[in-house]
């Protein structure tokens, strides 16, 4: 909220801010919980501009578009000023920049000869004075609310422009502080004084408002208190310049004296008010009711709004005239021709206003305040003040008394006990009853001592955010200042592991991934429905109900989706080798569609060259499936200490012939790896083969498998290479497995060293070169090894139909 330093001065006793110039006040408010984001001058700087009246206007002898004005700034002196504005009028008062004055932007005004006539200064438009919104640049600005007695006054002084604005970041619980009165109370608590509202003198005459208007509340939950006053015989014109200028500095656009007066009082007291053109209030009746779901209404911004049943409508005898607490209607808006005003001051339920404002997407000054809560005891005070201003500024007649209704009795002020032992326990320092009492009293609480160590505090009506003992603890702490709280070291710690097994596992996994050449990524959580093309598991995507982007309104079903896109992004930008990994969350709709199946996983994605580009390689090999598989094997070995098994798989988003299911130590599936389906690669525009893998984290969230010592043979090993001709459907792993399980004595190791498919082989068969390594705790003879191998060959042929090539 923007706060005027001059206004605070006016609300506080004389001299209260003597020790608190704006910057210091800002610092102190910040330390008391009212963070001041910025301190700045309210208006642009200028000097030497006075109020001057134009007493005569004659044509310029040398130019049709210019006029010669005779200006008086009080006293007997007359000055001649050349003026090009079409709207200059005899008898009007303007900002007169005298010879030697300085306007915003360091524009210096001297004597000037304009088309042969000397001009002694100039008459100013509002923008020339840095008051842009108060008048147009096409003409000079007639300063409203000024007269004969003001002539010669310095404009800054007359409009009270030497002010400072403090931008206060009021926290959402402090609805009471969305006003100058509220901030002045905070300042008062700081220096030990209480603010008060200046008197407004008004006289009442005519028929009492209560006899001319009836108010009926049919929605007591939404609006328990509705008061109104009447002002007649108005001439609606502009508000005085000083009022307009301050509204402008506080970010409220001046409209006319009636609207400006209500805004003035709102900024002063925090109570939003709404003026209706009383001539448009049919039947002299106000009915406060709930909106009917789907009911429509044209608000004063000219838009048709569809309302819900959470909304309170203000109606006359025939229909709605305002959305209660949010915005008035176009029909009953106060305009220049308005002669009679019905001024509303009411209390609306914060939650209902909040819902209405959200539904309508309409956050007004009024709705923002009602939604945070307004002091229920200020409703009548504010009404009287605003009615007084309207009558005074519009030359109107204020009808005696208030019309209105109170649907329910206002709640009694609550009294809360504060145990000093609790205060001391939560804050961590000692408090005397006097110190605690003083802090609360300064904030407007009425405090009694229940006993030596207990206070009872009666909560002021504007502190509706305070309802519990702990709220009082905070109030005391912030008034005495958090800087008075000591820093107490934490108590001695019981011994506990600071790194749990799961976390250690993740660290190992990340480290192993980096060791395998993968850079860590953090990719978006959102994907589109087409993220994997036709292969997207659309039935299992989790949808965001209120997405930021219509397209990307689903949660990623796998981490590799967004990770792969990041690889694609890098390739598109010219990277020749990209390997990324991410440990992140992925989301699938549970089978029932009710629950979300969320899991944390490791994803790998790679494309481009196998190794970083080196000048010695003319034709560097590309990363391929077996690179990926090798990377997976290595990082599983490093991070988990177990050995993954791979089996053919059939995920639709992967290349049908280049993908594998990954199995864990207990043979349970723990993930998959493969080449991304070429169709998706094309849709993503990668332009290179892209490899992805995704692994569950559970197998790594336990201490790694650590082997125990096994003796290894020191005698030389005997090797035998076999080339077996095998049907295509028998995978390499099966061949190796079959050899391992054949029960050969002393067989230590089986590895694949070659795979061949070609013309010399029968259709549908391939040749697999396997190396058998025999080892025993003694020297093996060639003869015994050959016997073993012969037995193996005979068995493989007999049982599997595999032959030697």
């Amino acid at each position: 909220m923007r706060v005027s330093y001059r206004w605070l001065e006016a609300l506080l006793p004389e001299g209260a801010l003597a020790e608190l110039p704006p910057e210091e006040l800002a610092r102190r408010l910040t330390l008391q919980g009212m963070a001041v984001d910025e301190v700045r001058p309210a208006f642009a700087g200028f000097e030497g501009v006075v109020l001057g009246k134009v007493v005569e206007v004659v044509p310029h002898p040398g130019a049709d578009t210019l006029r010669l004005c005779t200006v008086t700034a009080g006293g007997g002196e007359r000055r001649r000023v050349v003026c090009g504005a079409p709207n200059v009028e005899e008898g009007a008062v303007y900002g007169y920049a005298t010879v030697g004055s300085r306007l915003p932007g360091d524009r210096r005004i001297g004597r000037a000869e304009i088309r042969g006539v000397e001009s002694e200064g100039m008459l100013c438009s509002a923008p020339e004075l840095g008051l842009d919104a108060l008048g147009s640049a096409d003409g000079i600005w007639r300063v409203p609310g000024t007269g004969e007695t003001d002539l010669g006054r310095d404009l800054r002084e007359a409009l009270d422009l030497d002010d400072t604005i403090l931008d206060v970041d009021v926290t959402s619980n402090r609805g009471d502080a969305f006003s100058h009165l509220g901030i002045a109370r905070e300042v008062g608590a700081m220096v030990g004084v209480a603010p008060s509202l200046p008197e407004i003198e008004v006289t009442e005459e005519g028929e009492a408002a209560g006899d001319r208007v009836t108010v009926r509340i049919e929605d007591p939950d939404g609006c328990p208190r509705y008061l109104a006053r009447l002002v007649d015989r108005l001439q609606v014109g502009p508000a005085p310049g000083w009022m307009q200028a301050r509204l402008l500095a506080l970010g409220v656009r001046p409209v006319n004296a009636v609207v400006d007066a209500t805004n003035w009082v709102m900024l002063e007291t925090g109570q939003p008010l709404h003026p209706f053109d009383f001539a448009k209030v049919r039947g002299g009746e106000i009915v406060v009711r709930r909106a009917v779901e789907g009911e429509s209404f044209v608000t004063l911004d000219g838009r048709t709004r569809t309302l819900g049943s959470e909304t309170t409508m203000i109606c006359d005898a025939e229909g709605p005239i305002a959305v209660g607490g949010v915005m008035g209607g176009l029909e009953s808006e106060v305009a220049d021709g308005t002669r009679s005003v019905l001024l509303e001051s009411a209390w609306f339920d914060p939650a209902r206003i909040g819902r209405t404002a959200r539904r309508l997407g309409l956050v007004s000054e009024a709705s923002a305040r009602f939604a945070r809560g307004v002091d229920p005891e200020i409703v009548d005070v504010a009404l009287d003040r605003a009615a007084g201003w309207i009558a005074r500024l519009g030359g109107g007649r204020l009808a005696p008394g208030r019309a209105g209704a109170e649907a329910v009795d206002r709640p009694e002020a609550s009294t809360i006990e504060l145990r000093l032992v609790r205060l001391e326990g939560l804050v961590g320092r000692p408090f005397s009853p006097e110190e605690s009492r003083r802090a609360l009293t300064r904030l407007g609480f009425e405090v009694e001592e229940r006993d030596e160590r207990t206070l009872a505090a009666r909560v002021p009506s504007w502190r509706f955010d305070v309802g519990r003992e702990v709220d009082l603890v905070e109030e005391v702490a912030r008034v005495v200042g958090y800087d008075t709280v000591p820093e107490t070291p934490l108590p001695t710690l019981p011994v506990a592991p600071s790194v749990r097994a799961e976390e250690a596992g993740l660290d190992r996994l990340a480290q192993a991934s980096r060791a395998a050449g993968f850079d860590e990524a953090r990719t978006p959580s959102f994907v589109s429905r087409e993220v994997l093309g036709e292969a997207t598991p659309v039935d299992r995507l989790v949808e965001i109900r209120n997405p930021i982007s219509k397209a990307e309104r689903f949660l990623r079903p796998f981490v590799f989706t967004t990770l792969g896109a990041a690889v694609a992004h890098n390739v598109a930008r010219g990277a020749d080798r990209v390997k990324l990994f991410e440990i992140g969350h992925a989301f699938l709709l549970g089978e029932s569609g009710e629950a979300v199946d969320e899991s944390r996983r490791l994803a790998l994605a790679a494309a481009g060259q196998r190794e970083p580009l080196h000048w010695s390689e003319t034709d560097p090999p590309a990363y391929d499936f077996f690179d990926l598989k090798g990377d997976v094997e290595e990082l599983v070995a490093r991070a988990g200490g177990w050995r993954p098994e791979f089996a053919p798989a059939d995920r639709s988003w992967l290349h049908p012939g280049r993908q594998a299911e990954i199995h864990g130590a207990d043979d349970e599936p723990v993930g998959f790896c493969g080449e991304l389906h070429p169709r998706i690669v094309e849709e993503w525009g990668v332009g290179r083969r892209l490899y992805v893998a995704e692994l569950e984290l559970a197998p790594f969230e336990r201490p790694p498998v650590v082997g125990t010592y096994r003796d290894f043979a020191r005698e030389p090993a005997v090797e035998r290479d076999l080339a077996l001709v095998v049907p295509d459907e028998d995978h390499a792993a099966e061949v190796v497995g079959a050899i391992r399980e054949a029960g050969l004595e002393s067989l230590a190791e089986v590895t694949v060293f070659d795979r061949y498919r070609g013309a010399q082989l029968p259709e549908g068969r391939y040749s697999l070169g396997v190396r058998l390594v025999f080892q025993a705790g003694r020297t093996l003879t060639d003869e015994e090894v050959d016997r073993e191998v012969d037995r193996l060959i005979e068995r493989l042929e007999r049982e599997r139909g595999w032959t030697l090539r």
Binding site: T30, G425, V470, Y482, L490, R500, P524, E598, E611, W615
Partner: protein, 348 residues
């Protein structure tokens, strides 16, 4: 006869010398040796022929042959060594590399800057005895709001700009605070956890906003914990992370789940407190929100607030990383351009 022999032997010697002169490799020298001194060599033949000389001439002839043989052997060996030396020099010459050419690297991966910062932060809190806890990103309303004392319709709930999920009742957590609730639901106090994780807000992405970002949350609940303990722990943290001379201030603020609540400001890292545009001329930068755990939160998880109390805090990792590395745009973190990722020394 002896003279004849001497003449012949001198001839052999001269020939060998000439041949050695012409030899260009150690192998050539070896051939010369074989021809001269080998089994079928000239000198071997001469030595054999001595047997056919008269007995009285034999000793002299023998000496003569041996002398020449030794001389030849020495000449060959010398020449051979010189040639070997030369051959090695030639090989080394031919094998020399331009060592200024780039080495062959295998490209170890790097840590993401957010991970570097997260790990640093977690390490500090781990040393203070906090244990890492985690929770789901798709949360329910109870854990994200209700249990944290943010009831339906409360303005604080609206200010969170929550992303809600289908099926209903679920949302993307707006802060890491629901993990506080999950931890306290799972075990009795004392509780001492630090919670890193991704959180979500319905913010349109720009240079300083992202709909997903990361927080680190901390919670300590024990007997007799107060605002004074919070001040110590977080001041200690700031001094460890930013340095022991960095100024710290706590100022009152408002969060639904803590009371008293505070914002922790640190002296602006850019201007050192003198005031600059980054700190809006205040000399201070907002670092994190914190406070004493609200009794309503403890009650929500069945912990007696009269017996137990605690403090909690939460901070944005991106903002800390952006300050630390002078990163101008939050979106860079999620774009994952490798030229960005590799700037922060996140090796190994």
């Amino acid at each position: 006869m002896i003279d004849e022999l001497r003449e012949r032997l001198e001839g052999v010697r001269e020939r060998v010398d000439r041949e050695l002169e012409a030899a260009s490799s150690p192998e050539d020298a070896e051939e010369i040796r074989v021809r001269a001194l080998g089994k079928k060599g000239v000198l071997t033949a001469e030595a054999k022929a001595i047997g056919s000389l008269p007995v009285e001439a034999r000793p002299e002839a023998g000496q003569l042959v041996n002398r020449i043989k030794d001389a030849i052997e020495e000449a060959i060996s010398e020449r051979e060594a010189a040639l070997a030396e030369k051959a090695l020099a030639a090989r080394l010459e031919s094998e020399s590399l331009d060592v200024t050419l780039p080495g062959r690297r295998h490209g170890q991966g790097v840590r993401h800057p957010l991970s570097i910062v997260t790990d640093e932060l977690l390490d500090i809190f781990r040393r203070m005895g906090f244990t890492v806890a985690r929770g789901p990103e798709a949360e329910d309303v109870w854990h994200n709001f209700e249990a944290l004392n943010i009831p339906e319709g409360h303005p604080a709930r609206e200010e969170m700009d929550t992303l809600y999920l289908e099926p209903g009742g679920l949302l993307l957590r707006t802060h890491t605070s629901p993990v506080q609730i999950r931890v306290m639901e799972a075990r009795e106090p004392p509780v001492r956890v630090v919670v890193p994780g991704r959180v979500f807000r319905s913010d349109t992405p720009d240079a300083s906003h992202s709909p997903y970002f990361h927080q680190i949350e901390g919670l300590w609940v024990d007997e007799g914990i107060s605002l004074a303990h919070l001040k110590w722990a977080l001041t200690e943290f700031v001094h460890q992370f930013y340095g022991p001379d960095v100024g710290v201030r706590f100022r009152p603020s408002y969060f639904q789940f803590t009371e008293p609540s505070a914002e922790l400001d640190i002296q602006c890292v850019l201007c050192g407190g003198a005031g600059c545009s980054a700190c809006k001329r205040t000399g201070w930068m907002e670092l994190l929100g914190c406070g004493v755990v609200d009794p309503a939160v403890l009650e929500a998880v069945g912990v007696d607030p009269e017996r137990w109390s605690g403090f909690a805090w939460g901070m944005g990792v991106e903002r800390i990383a952006m300050n630390k590395y002078a990163i101008p745009d939050i979106r860079l973190f999620f774009e994952n351009d490798v030229r960005f990722l590799r700037q922060f020394g996140g090796g190994a």
